[in-house]
């Protein structure tokens, strides 16, 4: 037997596509088609109301139902979603966090009603709340109770659903929020420690090695694929060390670093979107190339994610990338190809050292839960630095700041611009279906189940899962489950990190912008004031945060309102704060419904300040939004923030009849 070949070819990783939209029935059809194409696991995308625990008829759900994923309101929807899929054979990953105990309860309840015991189920609940505070924004409850819910899911599954991965500790979204590789490693490890420490309080000490073995990770891979691979090896090393030293896990198998991956979306461009395909391929190599740190499960984004929602064909293209890599190339025939590589060892050493230092800083602040504010402001600062490097040309992004000459792309030539448009009737249908569901169920049973849920939530020591599963059987809805917990735990708003973000290095352009802001402010009589916020449930706040920080750095007074705002909140704030301009960001595709509603409410409140919006806005929609009264629309191709700032100042000057810049 040779040392450079494996005796037999490795089995490929689990292949998934992050998918789901509209209704449970439509998503079920999509899943069946995907499985027929050779996909080997499911990855369920839920819509934002389901992720944040609101029923589809809640004010905040408006425009979001069925948009970025499937709407699951109760066990009836879950039955429809999984119809005809053998749950005892399927491996299902659910991207669900704040409401993870509830969606797992629905999954278990549906399996039970199909005669399948929990012990037969396998899959993953993402169930990681810290990265929701730091990056993704779909949290619902305060940190303490949220960590307890995570621990409850872990404690429950270890005993009753032993093949389940109860949590995917996510470094993925940290990179999307601007994390450097060192930060990605350090914050993920610190997060995992916080989870393990919380679980330790709720299970018997003898179970801790098993618990440790069930913790998996969800990582990111950017286009710097050599360093990214080193990052995964560094994480394996640190995880093994943590298991040995902090949690006394003796079995090396239980200390193995297990991870799934979705490669980078942050680096995908709207301009020349076909270039994203090669980016995705290279990023897929980062997580597969070296056998000793290879992903267990992979899902790849689609080439057109910066444009809008991908269609089934776009997702098929990404699945085929995985299949070519696994079945056509010789990748799976060799042992680890980096063993003994000086370059790789050196990179890993560098990252491990850096990560240890950063982990110490988090530990000094009392661990990951206490250090959320610190980590958030570090991420905002890192992201600001990344944006600056792209603006200044220090970081090349092909098609964005270099090689921008291009032929028109035939891929986006169709009427919808090469993306999926969700039928706007879905929301009304889902609301009608929810009303029918409520009318037909046993109200007494529902009330009793919710009372029990509230009692358990307040008890602190009891596990939330059994009461949740009982509530699922009783016909409780997603919004009702979450409201019962909100009653017990209270609502929460995470730190925004923008207040603490240090000012960037100054530049000639920045100075000139400041002078212009000063000039316009003097003419206005008070400092130019801008309101920045995100309407709807979309929690991806990186863009809004960068705009807020840059606005401050050029001398504006920025009222940063953060995420999850209703149109009436935005109107009230704009009026009371006396702002000169309003900047809104939406990435979930709900702009068609929400923006006109915001503008109507602003005008009704008597605010005539211009409104600019940013986000993933297809060109076809931009025109309609301008017609509805939006002064300017910015999309991912507008990477130059100083230019946006100059536009905004000009817009305010024009609105107040002031002379244009000299």
């Amino acid at each position: 037997m040779s040392e450079h070949r494996l005796p037999e070819r490795d089995r490929p990783w689990l292949m998934r596509t992050y998918a789901g939209h509209s209704t449970a029935r439509a998503s079920n059809e999509l899943y069946r088609r995907n499985l027929a194409k050779g996909q080997t696991g499911l990855s369920v995308a839920f819509d934002l109301p389901t992720q944040t625990g609101y029923d589809c008829d809640h004010e905040l759900a408006r425009g979001e139902v069925g948009k970025v994923g499937v709407a699951i309101s109760h066990k009836g929807d879950m039955h429809a979603l999984l119809d005809g899929i053998p749950l005892d054979e399927m491996n299902t990953s659910m991207t669900i966090n704040a409401t993870a105990p509830w969606l797992l309860a629905l999954y278990v309840a549906v399996a039970e009603e199909n005669g399948i015991d929990g012990s037969k189920l396998s899959g993953t609940t993402q169930n990681d709340i810290l990265k929701e505070y730091l990056s993704r924004g779909t949290y619902a409850f305060p940190p303490g109770p949220s960590m307890r819910l995570i621990a409850d899911v872990v404690a429950y599954t270890v005993e009753h659903v032993p093949r389940w991965n109860p949590i995917n500790v996510c470094s993925y979204h940290l990179q999307e929020a601007g994390a450097t590789p060192v930060q990605e490693i350090a914050y993920a490890m610190a997060n995992a420690m916080a989870v393990l420490d919380a679980v330790r309080e709720r299970v018997d000490e003898s179970l801790m090695p098993t618990v440790f073995g069930r913790i998996s990770f969800f990582v990111n891979a950017g286009v710097r694929f050599v360093e990214e691979h080193a990052k995964l090896r560094a994480m394996s090393l640190l995880w093994d060390e943590l298991g040995r030293e902090r949690y006394d896990v003796e079995d090396p198998k239980l200390r193995r670093f297990r991870y799934g991956v979705q490669v980078n979306s942050l680096g995908l461009t709207e301009a020349q979107p076909e270039n994203n395909v090669q980016r995705i391929v290279l990023e897929a190599l980062a997580v597969t190339l070296g056998r000793s740190a290879r992903a267990r499960a992979i899902q790849l984004p689609a080439w057109n994610e910066a444009l809008g929602l991908p269609r089934p064909w776009d997702q098929q293209w990404s699945l085929r990338i995985q299949q070519v890599l696994a079945f056509e190339t010789d990748l799976l025939e060799y042992p680890d190809v980096f063993e003994g590589s000086k370059v790789m060892d050196g990179l890993v050493e560098e990252l491990v050292t850096g990560a240890r230092e950063e982990m110490t800083r988090v530990a000094e602040r009392g661990g990951a839960v206490e250090a959320v504010g610190y980590m958030k402001s570090e991420l905002v600062s890192s992201h600001r630095e990344r944006v600056r490097r792209i603006e200044d040309g220090d970081l090349t992004v092909v098609g964005i700041n270099r090689f921008t000459e291009t032929e028109p792309s035939p891929l986006t030539a169709d009427a919808e611009g090469g993306i999926l448009v969700v039928d706007p009737d879905v929301e009304a249908e889902q609301i009608a279906a929810l009303e029918r569901w409520r009318a037909e169920r046993d109200e007494d049973a529902v009330r009793a189940a919710l009372d029990e849920l509230r009692r358990v939530a307040r008890s602190e020591s009891e596990n939330i899962m059994p009461a949740s599963i009982a509530a699922a059987h009783a016909g409780v809805t997603t919004g009702e489950w979450a409201q019962a917990l909100r009653d017990a735990f209270g609502d929460y708003r995470a730190p925004t990190g923008v207040g603490e973000a240090v000012a960037g290095a100054t530049s000639e352009e920045l100075e000139s912008l400041r002078e212009e802001v000063d000039r316009v402010s003097d003419a206005l009589g008070r400092r130019l004031k801008v309101l920045v916020g995100k309407p709807g449930l979309d929690g991806h706040s990186n863009g809004a945060e960068q705009i807020a920080v840059r606005g401050r750095d050029v001398g504006m007074e920025v009222v940063y309102e953060g995420i999850r705002l209703t149109p009436s909140q935005i109107a009230a704030s704009a009026l009371q704060e006396g702002v000169h301009v309003i900047g809104l960001s939406i990435l979930s595709g709900s702009h068609r419904e929400l923006i006109p509603s915001v503008i109507a409410q602003l005008r009704e409140a008597g605010v005539d300040a211009p409104v600019v919006i940013g986000g993933i806005i297809p060109e076809a929609d931009a025109a309609a939004l301008r017609e509805a009264g939006v002064a300017a629309v910015y999309t991912p191709k507008d990477f130059d923030l100083n230019r946006i700032m100059r536009d905004i100042v000009g817009l305010v000057a024009q609105h107040h009849g002031l002379a244009a810049a000299a």
Binding site: G490, G525, R526, V554, E561, G562
Partner: protein, 316 residues
């Protein structure tokens, strides 16, 4: 709309005049000071026929202590009791660029449809560690229309004096386990507040011992009358009704008219000194003489009128 008109509307308790009044008060355009003076004249004790009805409450404490969560609960309690509330959230940071990030508003949970709540974020700007003159003027203007006006500031040890001059009652907020306030109090670095609030009462023993330590420090400082209230904003909220009662209790026990008169005179002198410097003070015969002059003026005058009187005298 003119300052006088806005002032009249506020005097008639027209809450919808608040945004425009604040825009005016913050303005630095030519003619701005005259308009602000006209507004303040309309809400002066003279024009109102007595002191403005609002309870002006200063809430101050270090960052991260839970002031915003506490404010959410307080606002809810005041609204429940039918009292209208205005909040001035002051951002303390001052930057060369003049820019500021005002993020507090997002952390105070209120019903956007409720017209009885008004929140305004303001930057302290170039005033060192304290309140901008516009914030004082804003509080005076809003006090004519709202039942409660809150001035929220960040910091411990520097800014309370400023807040104390603008508010009828100052509450300093601390969290258990932070010994700074205790040390500052004992060392006399910090003025004794009117009410002390200990947050995170859900932490149990740590919070209770913080309350005990503060009480014994206050006793040692012969300030036994200062109430120490432990609160928790985590459901079920605790201590909020007690805090409301403590704030009301302090106001009832205070000669508000005298406190405000004193503050107006101090502000007028400070504004005068900021504008005309030592030379201006000398023209008045020194600080002591200036204070004597102020004491002799009509107690119902607003700050700009008092300042104008000083200027008139200095020019003589």
């Amino acid at each position: 709309m003119s300052g006088a008109e806005l002032g009249r509307r506020l005097r008639e308790r027209d809450l919808s005049a608040a945004p425009a009044a604040l825009n005016l008060v913050e303005a630095r355009r030519p003619g701005g000071p005259e308009e602000v003076a006209a507004l303040l004249r309309e809400v002066s004790p003279g024009a109102l026929g007595g002191d403005a009805p609002a309870h002006v409450v200063g809430i101050t404490g270090p960052p991260g202590v839970g002031k915003s969560s506490l404010l959410s609960e307080l606002v809810a309690a005041w609204r429940c009791a039918g009292r209208t509330v205005a909040v001035l959230a002051v951002d303390p940071t001052s930057r060369r660029s003049g820019g500021a990030l005002l993020g507090d508003r997002a952390r105070i949970a209120v019903d956007p449809a409720d017209r009885g709540v008004f929140i305004r974020s303001t930057a302290a700007g170039d005033t060192l560690g304290g309140l901008a003159a516009s914030t004082r003027a804003a509080a005076q203007a809003l006090a004519a229309a709202f039942d409660v006006v809150v001035i929220e500031t960040v910091g411990v040890g520097q800014s309370e004096t400023d807040v104390a001059d603008a508010a009828d009652t100052v509450a300093v907020v601390v969290q258990p386990g932070s010994g700074d306030v205790l040390q500052f109090l004992k060392a006399g670095i910090m003025e004794i507040p009117d009410v002390l609030v200990v947050t995170k009462a859900d932490l149990g023993n740590i919070a209770e011992s913080a309350v005990r330590d503060l009480r014994s420090a206050l006793t040692a400082l012969d300030a036994r009358e200062v109430e120490v209230v432990a609160v928790s904003s985590i459901p079920p909220p605790r201590g909020i009704d007690e805090l409301v009662a403590a704030l009301d209790g302090h106001r009832a026990a205070t000669d508000v008219a005298a406190r405000r008169l004193h503050a107006r005179r101090r502000h007028a002198l400070a504004d005068f000194a900021a504008e005309h410097g030592e030379r201006g003070l000398r023209a008045l015969g020194g600080r002591r003489e200036a204070e004597r002059l102020l004491d002799s003026l009509d107690p119902r005058l607003d700050v700009p009128s008092l300042r104008a009187a000083l200027e008139e005298n200095a020019a003589r």
